[in-house]
Amino acid sequence: MSVPSARPLEEQIGQWRGYLRRRRAIGGPDVEELESHLRDQMTVLTDAGLAEDEAFLVAVKRMGSLDALSREFAREHSERLWKQLVVGGDGDAAPATITRTETAVVFALAAAAAVAVKIPALFGLDIGTASAEPFYQRNASLFVLPFLMGYFAWKRHLDGRRLISLLLAFAAAAIVMNTFPFTPGSDTRTLGAIHLPIALWLAVGVAYAGGRWFGDGGRMDFVRFSGELSIYYVLIAMGGLVFTAFTMMMFTAIGMTPDWLAEDWIVPCGAAGALLVGSWLVEAKQSVVENMAPVLTHLFTPLFTMLLLVFLATMAWTGRPIDIQRNVLIGFDLLLVLVVGLVLYAASARDPQAPPNLFDRLQLLLIVSALAVDGLALAAIASRISEFGLTPNRVAALGENLILLINLAWSAWLYAEFVLGRGQFRALETWQTAYLPVYSTWAALVVVLFPPLFGYA
Protein backbone atom coordinates (compact mmCIF):
# COMPACT_ATOMS: atom_id res chain seq x y z
CA MET A 1 0.00 0.00 0.00
CA SER A 2 1.69 3.14 -1.20
CA VAL A 3 -0.84 5.74 -0.07
CA PRO A 4 0.50 7.21 3.15
CA SER A 5 -2.02 6.83 5.90
CA ALA A 6 -0.51 8.85 8.71
CA ARG A 7 -3.75 9.71 10.49
CA PRO A 8 -6.60 7.39 11.33
CA LEU A 9 -9.71 7.81 9.23
CA GLU A 10 -11.98 9.23 11.93
CA GLU A 11 -9.51 12.00 12.56
CA GLN A 12 -9.54 12.94 8.88
CA ILE A 13 -13.32 12.98 8.79
CA GLY A 14 -13.30 15.05 11.97
CA GLN A 15 -10.98 17.56 10.35
CA TRP A 16 -13.18 17.77 7.26
CA ARG A 17 -16.19 18.31 9.53
CA GLY A 18 -14.27 21.07 11.27
CA TYR A 19 -13.65 22.85 7.96
CA LEU A 20 -17.35 22.67 7.16
CA ARG A 21 -18.34 24.01 10.58
CA ARG A 22 -16.19 27.07 10.09
CA ARG A 23 -18.31 28.10 7.12
CA ARG A 24 -21.02 30.37 8.48
CA ALA A 25 -23.44 29.49 5.70
CA ILE A 26 -23.43 25.80 6.57
CA GLY A 27 -25.38 25.07 9.74
CA GLY A 28 -24.87 22.28 12.28
CA PRO A 29 -27.57 19.94 10.91
CA ASP A 30 -26.25 20.56 7.38
CA VAL A 31 -22.82 19.38 8.46
CA GLU A 32 -24.37 16.25 9.88
CA GLU A 33 -26.32 15.66 6.68
CA LEU A 34 -23.24 16.13 4.52
CA GLU A 35 -21.18 13.86 6.75
CA SER A 36 -23.83 11.18 6.51
CA HIS A 37 -23.58 11.50 2.73
CA LEU A 38 -19.80 11.29 2.86
CA ARG A 39 -19.96 8.07 4.85
CA ASP A 40 -22.56 6.54 2.51
CA GLN A 41 -20.30 7.30 -0.41
CA MET A 42 -17.27 5.86 1.38
CA THR A 43 -19.09 2.65 2.25
CA VAL A 44 -19.94 2.07 -1.40
CA LEU A 45 -16.37 2.81 -2.47
CA THR A 46 -14.77 0.53 0.10
CA ASP A 47 -17.23 -2.23 -0.82
CA ALA A 48 -16.00 -1.78 -4.38
CA GLY A 49 -12.48 -2.48 -3.21
CA LEU A 50 -10.97 0.88 -2.39
CA ALA A 51 -8.92 1.36 0.74
CA GLU A 52 -10.59 3.51 3.40
CA ASP A 53 -8.34 6.52 2.97
CA GLU A 54 -8.66 6.35 -0.79
CA ALA A 55 -12.43 6.17 -0.41
CA PHE A 56 -12.27 9.23 1.84
CA LEU A 57 -10.32 11.23 -0.73
CA VAL A 58 -12.68 10.31 -3.55
CA ALA A 59 -15.78 11.03 -1.45
CA VAL A 60 -14.46 14.44 -0.41
CA LYS A 61 -13.60 15.25 -3.99
CA ARG A 62 -17.08 14.32 -5.17
CA MET A 63 -18.64 16.48 -2.49
CA GLY A 64 -17.20 19.53 -4.22
CA SER A 65 -14.90 22.30 -3.11
CA LEU A 66 -15.66 23.94 0.22
CA ASP A 67 -15.86 27.39 -1.35
CA ALA A 68 -18.35 26.36 -3.99
CA LEU A 69 -20.36 24.42 -1.44
CA SER A 70 -20.48 27.23 1.03
CA ARG A 71 -21.50 29.65 -1.72
CA GLU A 72 -24.43 27.46 -2.70
CA PHE A 73 -25.54 27.15 0.91
CA ALA A 74 -25.19 30.90 1.33
CA ARG A 75 -27.54 31.47 -1.59
CA GLU A 76 -30.16 29.27 -0.04
CA HIS A 77 -29.70 30.38 3.57
CA SER A 78 -28.97 34.07 3.30
CA GLU A 79 -30.37 34.68 6.79
CA ARG A 80 -27.32 32.95 8.24
CA LEU A 81 -24.93 35.53 6.97
CA TRP A 82 -27.10 38.35 5.81
CA LYS A 83 -24.58 41.00 6.40
CA GLN A 84 -21.70 39.21 4.79
CA LEU A 85 -23.47 38.93 1.49
CA VAL A 86 -21.87 41.12 -1.04
CA VAL A 87 -24.84 42.40 -2.95
CA GLY A 88 -24.43 42.42 -6.67
CA GLY A 89 -21.83 40.52 -8.61
CA ASP A 90 -22.53 36.87 -9.09
CA GLY A 91 -23.50 36.28 -5.50
CA ASP A 92 -19.95 35.74 -4.31
CA ALA A 93 -20.29 35.27 -0.58
CA ALA A 94 -16.97 36.84 0.20
CA PRO A 95 -16.89 38.33 3.69
CA ALA A 96 -17.67 42.01 3.56
CA THR A 97 -14.70 44.06 4.43
CA ILE A 98 -14.90 47.70 5.23
CA THR A 99 -12.31 49.45 3.18
CA ARG A 100 -10.55 52.66 3.97
CA THR A 101 -12.40 54.28 1.07
CA GLU A 102 -15.71 53.34 2.60
CA THR A 103 -14.73 54.81 5.96
CA ALA A 104 -13.74 58.02 4.22
CA VAL A 105 -16.96 58.13 2.21
CA VAL A 106 -19.10 57.59 5.30
CA PHE A 107 -17.41 60.28 7.35
CA ALA A 108 -17.57 62.70 4.43
CA LEU A 109 -21.30 62.01 4.07
CA ALA A 110 -21.86 62.34 7.82
CA ALA A 111 -20.03 65.67 7.81
CA ALA A 112 -22.05 66.75 4.78
CA ALA A 113 -25.30 65.89 6.58
CA ALA A 114 -24.16 67.84 9.64
CA VAL A 115 -23.26 70.84 7.49
CA ALA A 116 -26.53 70.58 5.56
CA VAL A 117 -28.41 71.06 8.81
CA LYS A 118 -26.61 74.38 9.32
CA ILE A 119 -26.83 75.73 5.77
CA PRO A 120 -30.27 77.33 6.23
CA ALA A 121 -28.68 79.45 8.97
CA LEU A 122 -26.87 81.35 6.20
CA PHE A 123 -30.29 82.44 4.99
CA GLY A 124 -31.40 83.62 8.39
CA LEU A 125 -33.12 80.39 9.40
CA ASP A 126 -31.22 79.71 12.60
CA ILE A 127 -31.96 76.37 14.19
CA GLY A 128 -33.42 76.82 17.63
CA THR A 129 -35.20 80.09 16.86
CA ALA A 130 -38.98 80.07 16.89
CA SER A 131 -39.28 81.49 13.38
CA ALA A 132 -37.20 78.71 11.85
CA GLU A 133 -38.99 75.92 13.66
CA PRO A 134 -41.67 75.21 11.02
CA PHE A 135 -38.99 75.08 8.36
CA TYR A 136 -36.88 72.56 10.25
CA GLN A 137 -39.91 70.53 11.25
CA ARG A 138 -41.03 70.20 7.61
CA ASN A 139 -37.63 69.33 6.26
CA ALA A 140 -35.98 67.35 9.07
CA SER A 141 -35.84 64.08 7.13
CA LEU A 142 -34.64 65.79 3.97
CA PHE A 143 -31.42 66.89 5.67
CA VAL A 144 -30.24 63.38 6.43
CA LEU A 145 -31.96 60.65 4.43
CA PRO A 146 -30.60 61.71 1.01
CA PHE A 147 -27.08 61.26 2.35
CA LEU A 148 -27.91 57.86 3.76
CA MET A 149 -29.45 56.87 0.45
CA GLY A 150 -26.33 58.19 -1.27
CA TYR A 151 -24.15 55.98 0.89
CA PHE A 152 -26.01 52.84 -0.13
CA ALA A 153 -26.29 53.94 -3.74
CA TRP A 154 -22.51 54.25 -3.72
CA LYS A 155 -21.89 51.04 -1.86
CA ARG A 156 -24.27 48.88 -3.92
CA HIS A 157 -23.35 50.50 -7.26
CA LEU A 158 -26.96 51.44 -7.88
CA ASP A 159 -27.77 51.75 -11.55
CA GLY A 160 -28.52 55.20 -12.95
CA ARG A 161 -32.21 54.65 -13.64
CA ARG A 162 -32.96 53.53 -10.11
CA LEU A 163 -30.86 56.30 -8.60
CA ILE A 164 -32.69 58.94 -10.60
CA SER A 165 -36.11 57.67 -9.56
CA LEU A 166 -35.04 57.72 -5.91
CA LEU A 167 -33.68 61.24 -6.24
CA LEU A 168 -36.96 62.28 -7.88
CA ALA A 169 -38.81 60.93 -4.83
CA PHE A 170 -36.71 63.15 -2.56
CA ALA A 171 -37.18 66.14 -4.86
CA ALA A 172 -40.94 65.60 -4.90
CA ALA A 173 -40.96 65.43 -1.10
CA ALA A 174 -39.01 68.69 -0.86
CA ILE A 175 -41.40 70.43 -3.26
CA VAL A 176 -44.54 69.20 -1.49
CA MET A 177 -43.28 70.11 1.97
CA ASN A 178 -42.14 73.58 0.99
CA THR A 179 -44.75 74.78 -1.49
CA PHE A 180 -47.97 73.72 0.25
CA PRO A 181 -49.61 76.84 1.74
CA PHE A 182 -49.86 75.49 5.30
CA THR A 183 -51.68 77.69 7.79
CA PRO A 184 -49.68 78.65 10.91
CA GLY A 185 -49.65 75.85 13.46
CA SER A 186 -51.12 73.51 10.85
CA ASP A 187 -51.90 69.96 11.93
CA THR A 188 -51.43 68.58 8.43
CA ARG A 189 -47.94 70.07 8.35
CA THR A 190 -47.03 68.30 11.59
CA LEU A 191 -48.56 65.10 10.26
CA GLY A 192 -46.54 65.50 7.06
CA ALA A 193 -43.34 66.03 9.00
CA ILE A 194 -44.00 62.85 11.02
CA HIS A 195 -44.96 60.74 8.00
CA LEU A 196 -42.34 61.93 5.56
CA PRO A 197 -39.45 59.91 7.07
CA ILE A 198 -41.64 56.78 6.98
CA ALA A 199 -42.37 57.33 3.30
CA LEU A 200 -38.75 58.13 2.44
CA TRP A 201 -37.41 55.18 4.44
CA LEU A 202 -38.70 53.08 1.55
CA ALA A 203 -36.39 54.97 -0.80
CA VAL A 204 -33.49 54.25 1.55
CA GLY A 205 -34.59 50.61 1.58
CA VAL A 206 -34.57 50.36 -2.19
CA ALA A 207 -31.03 51.77 -2.22
CA TYR A 208 -30.00 49.46 0.63
CA ALA A 209 -31.31 46.37 -1.11
CA GLY A 210 -29.55 47.31 -4.33
CA GLY A 211 -31.09 45.15 -7.01
CA ARG A 212 -32.63 42.77 -4.50
CA TRP A 213 -35.72 44.73 -3.43
CA PHE A 214 -38.02 42.46 -5.41
CA GLY A 215 -36.67 39.19 -4.21
CA ASP A 216 -33.84 37.24 -2.71
CA GLY A 217 -34.47 38.38 0.84
CA GLY A 218 -33.44 41.98 0.16
CA ARG A 219 -36.38 43.37 2.13
CA MET A 220 -35.82 41.15 5.13
CA ASP A 221 -32.19 42.24 5.15
CA PHE A 222 -33.39 45.83 5.18
CA VAL A 223 -35.68 45.06 8.12
CA ARG A 224 -32.70 43.58 9.97
CA PHE A 225 -30.63 46.61 9.06
CA SER A 226 -33.32 49.01 10.31
CA GLY A 227 -33.53 47.22 13.65
CA GLU A 228 -29.79 47.18 14.22
CA LEU A 229 -29.52 50.81 13.13
CA SER A 230 -32.10 51.96 15.66
CA ILE A 231 -30.17 50.17 18.40
CA TYR A 232 -26.87 51.72 17.34
CA TYR A 233 -28.56 55.10 17.06
CA VAL A 234 -29.87 54.94 20.62
CA LEU A 235 -26.41 53.95 21.85
CA ILE A 236 -24.76 56.81 19.98
CA ALA A 237 -27.43 59.23 21.23
CA MET A 238 -26.69 58.21 24.80
CA GLY A 239 -23.00 58.83 24.22
CA GLY A 240 -23.89 62.19 22.69
CA LEU A 241 -25.91 63.07 25.76
CA VAL A 242 -22.91 62.46 28.01
CA PHE A 243 -20.73 64.49 25.63
CA THR A 244 -23.17 67.40 25.70
CA ALA A 245 -23.46 67.26 29.49
CA PHE A 246 -19.68 67.52 29.85
CA THR A 247 -19.53 70.41 27.38
CA MET A 248 -22.12 72.28 29.42
CA MET A 249 -20.51 71.50 32.76
CA MET A 250 -16.99 72.52 31.74
CA PHE A 251 -17.83 75.78 30.03
CA THR A 252 -20.26 76.73 32.78
CA ALA A 253 -17.41 76.17 35.24
CA ILE A 254 -15.42 78.98 33.64
CA GLY A 255 -18.39 81.28 33.74
CA MET A 256 -19.63 80.97 30.17
CA THR A 257 -23.08 80.01 28.90
CA PRO A 258 -22.52 77.35 26.22
CA ASP A 259 -26.25 76.72 25.61
CA TRP A 260 -26.04 77.90 22.02
CA LEU A 261 -23.15 75.53 21.37
CA ALA A 262 -25.16 72.53 22.54
CA GLU A 263 -28.53 73.52 21.13
CA ASP A 264 -27.48 74.96 17.78
CA TRP A 265 -24.47 72.83 16.95
CA ILE A 266 -23.78 69.67 18.91
CA VAL A 267 -27.31 68.26 19.10
CA PRO A 268 -28.61 68.96 15.56
CA CYS A 269 -25.34 68.21 13.75
CA GLY A 270 -24.70 65.17 15.92
CA ALA A 271 -28.20 63.83 15.35
CA ALA A 272 -27.75 64.14 11.59
CA GLY A 273 -24.26 62.66 11.42
CA ALA A 274 -25.07 59.86 13.85
CA LEU A 275 -27.55 58.29 11.43
CA LEU A 276 -24.81 57.80 8.86
CA VAL A 277 -22.23 56.66 11.35
CA GLY A 278 -24.78 54.27 12.86
CA SER A 279 -25.58 52.81 9.43
CA TRP A 280 -21.91 52.37 8.73
CA LEU A 281 -21.44 50.63 12.08
CA VAL A 282 -24.22 48.19 11.25
CA GLU A 283 -22.49 47.44 7.97
CA ALA A 284 -19.02 47.25 9.49
CA LYS A 285 -19.44 45.66 12.89
CA GLN A 286 -21.75 42.98 11.64
CA SER A 287 -20.35 40.09 13.58
CA VAL A 288 -19.50 42.01 16.73
CA VAL A 289 -22.96 42.88 18.01
CA GLU A 290 -24.90 40.71 15.68
CA ASN A 291 -28.66 40.83 15.69
CA MET A 292 -29.51 42.64 18.90
CA ALA A 293 -33.06 43.32 17.72
CA PRO A 294 -34.14 39.66 17.81
CA VAL A 295 -32.64 39.29 21.28
CA LEU A 296 -34.74 42.19 22.55
CA THR A 297 -37.72 40.66 20.77
CA HIS A 298 -37.32 37.40 22.63
CA LEU A 299 -36.96 39.29 25.87
CA PHE A 300 -40.05 41.43 25.49
CA THR A 301 -42.51 39.17 23.67
CA PRO A 302 -43.36 37.22 26.83
CA LEU A 303 -43.61 40.41 28.87
CA PHE A 304 -45.96 42.15 26.46
CA THR A 305 -48.06 39.03 26.02
CA MET A 306 -48.45 38.87 29.77
CA LEU A 307 -49.30 42.57 29.97
CA LEU A 308 -52.00 42.27 27.30
CA LEU A 309 -53.53 39.18 28.87
CA VAL A 310 -53.57 40.72 32.34
CA PHE A 311 -55.08 43.87 30.85
CA LEU A 312 -57.83 41.90 29.11
CA ALA A 313 -58.52 39.90 32.25
CA THR A 314 -58.69 43.08 34.33
CA MET A 315 -61.12 44.65 31.89
CA ALA A 316 -63.30 41.57 31.94
CA TRP A 317 -63.15 41.27 35.73
CA THR A 318 -63.81 44.89 36.63
CA GLY A 319 -66.01 45.70 33.63
CA ARG A 320 -64.23 49.04 33.20
CA PRO A 321 -64.64 50.43 29.67
CA ILE A 322 -61.75 52.10 27.85
CA ASP A 323 -61.91 55.79 28.69
CA ILE A 324 -61.81 57.56 25.36
CA GLN A 325 -59.38 60.42 25.69
CA ARG A 326 -58.09 62.50 22.81
CA ASN A 327 -54.89 60.56 22.25
CA VAL A 328 -56.09 57.10 23.08
CA LEU A 329 -56.18 56.05 19.41
CA ILE A 330 -52.55 57.04 18.93
CA GLY A 331 -51.67 55.07 22.04
CA PHE A 332 -53.26 51.94 20.64
CA ASP A 333 -51.64 52.56 17.26
CA LEU A 334 -48.28 52.54 18.98
CA LEU A 335 -49.20 49.31 20.72
CA LEU A 336 -49.90 47.68 17.35
CA VAL A 337 -46.66 49.08 15.91
CA LEU A 338 -44.83 47.49 18.79
CA VAL A 339 -46.51 44.13 18.27
CA VAL A 340 -45.82 44.25 14.52
CA GLY A 341 -42.18 45.05 15.36
CA LEU A 342 -41.95 42.10 17.74
CA VAL A 343 -43.41 39.79 15.09
CA LEU A 344 -41.19 41.19 12.35
CA TYR A 345 -37.94 40.88 14.29
CA ALA A 346 -38.78 37.46 15.59
CA ALA A 347 -39.38 36.43 11.98
CA SER A 348 -36.17 38.05 10.79
CA ALA A 349 -34.02 35.90 13.06
CA ARG A 350 -35.93 32.67 12.77
CA ASP A 351 -34.74 29.68 10.81
CA PRO A 352 -37.67 29.31 8.40
CA GLN A 353 -37.15 25.55 8.30
CA ALA A 354 -37.46 24.92 12.02
CA PRO A 355 -40.70 23.34 13.24
CA PRO A 356 -43.09 25.42 15.38
CA ASN A 357 -41.84 25.84 18.93
CA LEU A 358 -43.10 27.35 22.17
CA PHE A 359 -42.01 30.84 21.16
CA ASP A 360 -44.15 30.68 18.01
CA ARG A 361 -47.21 29.84 20.10
CA LEU A 362 -46.35 32.75 22.37
CA GLN A 363 -46.14 35.06 19.36
CA LEU A 364 -49.52 33.88 18.18
CA LEU A 365 -50.95 34.54 21.62
CA LEU A 366 -49.36 38.00 21.59
CA ILE A 367 -50.93 38.87 18.24
CA VAL A 368 -54.34 37.55 19.17
CA SER A 369 -54.42 39.41 22.48
CA ALA A 370 -53.21 42.61 20.80
CA LEU A 371 -56.00 42.23 18.25
CA ALA A 372 -58.52 41.77 21.05
CA VAL A 373 -57.32 44.85 22.93
CA ASP A 374 -57.28 46.94 19.78
CA GLY A 375 -60.72 45.66 18.82
CA LEU A 376 -62.09 46.81 22.17
CA ALA A 377 -60.47 50.22 21.77
CA LEU A 378 -61.78 50.62 18.21
CA ALA A 379 -65.29 49.66 19.27
CA ALA A 380 -65.17 52.30 21.99
CA ILE A 381 -63.86 54.92 19.59
CA ALA A 382 -66.26 54.07 16.76
CA SER A 383 -69.26 54.82 18.92
CA ARG A 384 -67.98 58.31 19.58
CA ILE A 385 -66.18 59.21 16.37
CA SER A 386 -69.04 61.41 15.13
CA GLU A 387 -68.91 63.28 18.40
CA PHE A 388 -65.23 64.10 17.93
CA GLY A 389 -65.43 64.94 14.23
CA LEU A 390 -62.96 63.81 11.61
CA THR A 391 -59.82 65.88 12.13
CA PRO A 392 -56.71 65.08 10.04
CA ASN A 393 -55.00 63.66 13.12
CA ARG A 394 -57.88 61.29 13.77
CA VAL A 395 -58.17 60.14 10.16
CA ALA A 396 -54.42 59.46 10.05
CA ALA A 397 -54.54 57.55 13.33
CA LEU A 398 -57.57 55.56 12.20
CA GLY A 399 -55.97 54.71 8.86
CA GLU A 400 -52.82 53.49 10.57
CA ASN A 401 -54.83 51.43 12.99
CA LEU A 402 -56.60 49.76 10.08
CA ILE A 403 -53.35 49.05 8.21
CA LEU A 404 -51.72 47.49 11.26
CA LEU A 405 -54.89 45.58 12.11
CA ILE A 406 -55.00 43.99 8.66
CA ASN A 407 -51.35 43.05 8.91
CA LEU A 408 -51.78 41.47 12.34
CA ALA A 409 -55.03 39.71 11.55
CA TRP A 410 -53.52 37.99 8.53
CA SER A 411 -50.29 37.31 10.45
CA ALA A 412 -52.35 35.63 13.18
CA TRP A 413 -54.02 33.45 10.55
CA LEU A 414 -50.68 32.48 8.99
CA TYR A 415 -49.14 31.85 12.40
CA ALA A 416 -52.06 29.66 13.40
CA GLU A 417 -51.72 27.64 10.18
CA PHE A 418 -48.02 27.24 10.85
CA VAL A 419 -48.41 26.25 14.50
CA LEU A 420 -51.07 23.71 13.49
CA GLY A 421 -48.63 22.28 10.96
CA ARG A 422 -50.72 23.24 7.96
CA GLY A 423 -48.55 26.03 6.61
CA GLN A 424 -44.99 27.15 6.10
CA PHE A 425 -43.30 29.78 8.23
CA ARG A 426 -42.09 31.27 4.97
CA ALA A 427 -45.64 32.42 4.23
CA LEU A 428 -45.57 34.70 7.28
CA GLU A 429 -42.19 36.11 6.35
CA THR A 430 -43.34 36.73 2.78
CA TRP A 431 -46.50 38.45 4.04
CA GLN A 432 -44.55 40.71 6.39
CA THR A 433 -42.00 41.78 3.79
CA ALA A 434 -44.65 42.18 1.07
CA TYR A 435 -46.53 44.48 3.45
CA LEU A 436 -43.62 46.89 3.98
CA PRO A 437 -44.46 49.23 1.06
CA VAL A 438 -48.01 49.61 2.45
CA TYR A 439 -46.72 51.62 5.42
CA SER A 440 -44.70 53.92 3.21
CA THR A 441 -47.51 54.31 0.70
CA TRP A 442 -49.93 55.32 3.43
CA ALA A 443 -47.35 57.73 4.87
CA ALA A 444 -46.86 59.23 1.40
CA LEU A 445 -50.63 59.65 1.08
CA VAL A 446 -50.75 61.47 4.41
CA VAL A 447 -47.94 63.78 3.28
CA VAL A 448 -49.34 64.51 -0.18
CA LEU A 449 -53.13 64.22 0.07
CA PHE A 450 -54.03 65.27 3.60
CA PRO A 451 -53.02 68.95 3.36
CA PRO A 452 -55.22 69.71 0.33
CA LEU A 453 -58.04 67.50 1.68
CA PHE A 454 -58.14 69.32 4.99
CA GLY A 455 -57.53 72.82 3.62
CA TYR A 456 -53.87 72.95 4.81
CA ALA A 457 -55.13 73.41 8.36
Binding site: E33, S36, D40, M63, E72, F73, Q353, Q424
Partner: protein, 112 residues
Protein backbone atom coordinates in the same frame (compact mmCIF):
# COMPACT_ATOMS: atom_id res chain seq x y z
CA UNK B 1 -20.48 14.52 -21.58
CA UNK B 2 -20.37 18.03 -20.20
CA UNK B 3 -23.92 19.32 -19.96
CA UNK B 4 -22.99 22.80 -18.80
CA UNK B 5 -23.82 24.48 -15.52
CA UNK B 6 -27.10 26.07 -16.51
CA UNK B 7 -28.65 22.92 -17.93
CA UNK B 8 -27.65 20.91 -14.87
CA UNK B 9 -29.10 23.57 -12.57
CA UNK B 10 -32.33 23.86 -14.56
CA UNK B 11 -32.94 20.13 -14.62
CA UNK B 12 -32.17 19.64 -10.93
CA UNK B 13 -35.64 20.58 -9.64
CA UNK B 14 -37.73 18.32 -11.92
CA UNK B 15 -35.24 15.47 -11.49
CA UNK B 16 -35.24 15.59 -7.70
CA UNK B 17 -39.03 15.92 -7.59
CA UNK B 18 -39.45 13.03 -10.00
CA UNK B 19 -37.10 10.79 -8.05
CA UNK B 20 -38.88 11.60 -4.80
CA UNK B 21 -42.17 10.80 -6.55
CA UNK B 22 -40.86 7.22 -6.68
CA UNK B 23 -40.80 7.24 -2.90
CA UNK B 24 -39.07 8.71 0.15
CA UNK B 25 -35.32 8.99 -0.28
CA UNK B 26 -32.15 10.65 1.00
CA UNK B 27 -29.27 12.62 -0.45
CA UNK B 28 -26.84 9.88 -1.36
CA UNK B 29 -29.53 7.64 -2.84
CA UNK B 30 -30.87 10.51 -4.94
CA UNK B 31 -27.42 11.19 -6.41
CA UNK B 32 -27.00 7.50 -7.15
CA UNK B 33 -30.39 7.35 -8.83
CA UNK B 34 -29.58 10.36 -11.01
CA UNK B 35 -26.38 8.73 -12.11
CA UNK B 36 -28.19 5.45 -12.85
CA UNK B 37 -31.02 7.10 -14.77
CA UNK B 38 -28.68 9.17 -16.89
CA UNK B 39 -26.37 6.27 -17.59
CA UNK B 40 -23.64 8.17 -15.83
CA UNK B 41 -23.89 11.20 -18.10
CA UNK B 42 -25.44 13.50 -15.55
CA UNK B 43 -22.88 13.97 -12.80
CA UNK B 44 -23.61 16.32 -9.95
CA UNK B 45 -21.13 17.56 -7.46
CA UNK B 46 -22.57 15.73 -4.46
CA UNK B 47 -22.69 18.67 -2.07
CA UNK B 48 -24.70 20.81 -4.46
CA UNK B 49 -27.72 18.58 -4.08
CA UNK B 50 -28.34 19.74 -0.52
CA UNK B 51 -28.95 23.45 -1.15
CA UNK B 52 -31.40 22.33 -3.85
CA UNK B 53 -33.20 20.03 -1.41
CA UNK B 54 -33.31 22.81 1.19
CA UNK B 55 -34.79 25.22 -1.32
CA UNK B 56 -37.48 22.72 -2.27
CA UNK B 57 -38.18 22.22 1.42
CA UNK B 58 -38.46 25.96 2.04
CA UNK B 59 -40.92 26.24 -0.82
CA UNK B 60 -42.96 23.43 0.65
CA UNK B 61 -42.43 21.04 -2.25
CA UNK B 62 -40.70 18.41 -0.16
CA UNK B 63 -40.79 17.59 3.53
CA UNK B 64 -37.82 16.29 5.49
CA UNK B 65 -37.46 14.19 8.61
CA UNK B 66 -34.46 12.86 10.46
CA UNK B 67 -34.40 9.08 10.57
CA UNK B 68 -31.94 6.32 11.26
CA UNK B 69 -29.89 4.66 8.55
CA UNK B 70 -29.11 0.93 8.53
CA UNK B 71 -25.67 1.70 9.96
CA UNK B 72 -27.28 3.46 12.94
CA UNK B 73 -26.27 7.00 11.89
CA UNK B 74 -28.78 9.81 11.64
CA UNK B 75 -29.93 10.53 8.11
CA UNK B 76 -32.28 13.08 6.63
CA UNK B 77 -35.10 11.62 4.54
CA UNK B 78 -37.03 13.65 2.01
CA UNK B 79 -40.46 13.01 0.58
CA UNK B 80 -42.74 14.79 -1.85
CA UNK B 81 -45.59 16.93 -0.48
CA UNK B 82 -48.93 17.29 -2.33
CA UNK B 83 -47.72 20.73 -3.40
CA UNK B 84 -44.53 19.13 -4.74
CA UNK B 85 -46.58 16.64 -6.69
CA UNK B 86 -48.50 19.50 -8.34
CA UNK B 87 -45.25 21.24 -9.11
CA UNK B 88 -43.88 18.06 -10.67
CA UNK B 89 -46.89 17.85 -12.99
CA UNK B 90 -46.32 21.46 -14.04
CA UNK B 91 -42.58 20.92 -14.53
CA UNK B 92 -43.28 17.86 -16.60
CA UNK B 93 -45.54 19.80 -18.94
CA UNK B 94 -42.89 22.48 -19.34
CA UNK B 95 -40.12 20.05 -20.15
CA UNK B 96 -42.42 18.19 -22.49
CA UNK B 97 -42.86 21.39 -24.51
CA UNK B 98 -39.11 21.86 -24.74
CA UNK B 99 -38.58 18.24 -25.61
CA UNK B 100 -41.31 18.21 -28.29
CA UNK B 101 -40.05 21.38 -29.87
CA UNK B 102 -36.47 20.19 -30.04
CA UNK B 103 -37.62 16.84 -31.30
CA UNK B 104 -39.62 18.36 -34.12
CA UNK B 105 -36.83 20.59 -35.31
CA UNK B 106 -34.34 17.75 -35.13
CA UNK B 107 -36.52 15.54 -37.25
CA UNK B 108 -36.17 18.03 -40.08
CA UNK B 109 -32.52 18.93 -39.86
CA UNK B 110 -29.81 16.40 -39.95
CA UNK B 111 -26.61 17.20 -38.11
CA UNK B 112 -24.87 13.99 -38.97
Amino acid sequence: MDLGKDLVAASATPLVLAILAEGESYGYAIIKRVSELSGGHLLWTDGMLYPVLHRLERNGLVAATWGLAENGRRRRYYRLTPEGRRQLVAERKRWQVVDDTLHRVWMKTSLA
